[in-house]
Symmetry: C2
Subunit: 131 residues, 2 copies
DNA sequence: CTGTATCCGCTATGATACTG
DNA sequence: CAGTATCATAGCGGATACAG
């Protein structure tokens, strides 16, 4: 059932996306997580503060926003800057590395945005077929 | 808390990705679901049978594969062809619409594959910082 | 303002067994 | 082969309260 390993010296140069233990999947999950992709694409616009992100991303809770941002920061996609003012102020932006990624994500999300109507139509047909 | 609606006649032409009720998010979740993106990119290679997909995508269960494929089919991304042989044989492929999507997804996944090592490195640093 | 800590329900997922 | 049905469970994610 596990994937047949081609050799013993399989390295993490370019992981096999289809192997159960491929680290690429882990990273991909960060990027395509429920809120991850939204945060990434939004930060492509400009730098935002925590509360601004919370406001703009409808439906997200503080907990999930903080958690999502922390993961993206650990991965090196997002830069977190703390300004020791009173009250504190934290700004989030994309690193150059994160910008590369974000452009790819946006390439996907924008396509979905532009084609969502057609998808919803396809779903309607499906529902009628089964009815 | 909800996004300020620009007008009352907001339609689903081009949804607002950041609105909680935006249908784009639903479709995006289908596409970026745990197994969705893997299936989509794999089908970009060629047509596959159910069992072939199950074999190639390490770690997926039959249940999740069937479920993922059904959603992608309803969305109009995947074509399901049943050959009434004995035993039955079902082939899955991308529709032209699905191919458009798949190319966008692959554009993302391939970047992640090529940069996963750097991400893992960034994570290491993060862990050391906090230690 | 920017989070963290805790509780907790719900859903997504996996394992298993079964059907056409 | 290609699924479906059922059950069990982990953990996602929301609500709330609290802290620096």
């Amino acid at each position: 059932m596990p994937w047949p390993k081609s050799t013993k010296t399989v390295r993490i140069r370019k992981g096999n996306l289809y192997a159960a233990d491929c680290p690429t999947r882990i990273v991909l999950d960060d990027v395509t997580s429920r809120w991850g992709s939204l945060v990434i694409v939004l930060l492509l616009e400009q730098t935002y503060r925590f509360s601004e992100l919370a406001y703009r991303i409808g439906g997200i809770s503080e907990k999930m926003l903080a958690q999502t941002l922390r993961v993206l920061e650990e991965d090196g996609f997002v830069l977190r800057e703390v300004f020791p003012t009173k009250p504190p102020r934290v700004e989030y932006s994309l690193t150059p590395f994160g910008q590369e990624l974000a452009e790819r994500v946006q390439y996907l999300t924008s396509w979905v945005e532009n084609n969502v109507a057609k998808v919803m139509g396809n779903r309607e047909k499906s529902r009628q077929m089964s009815a």
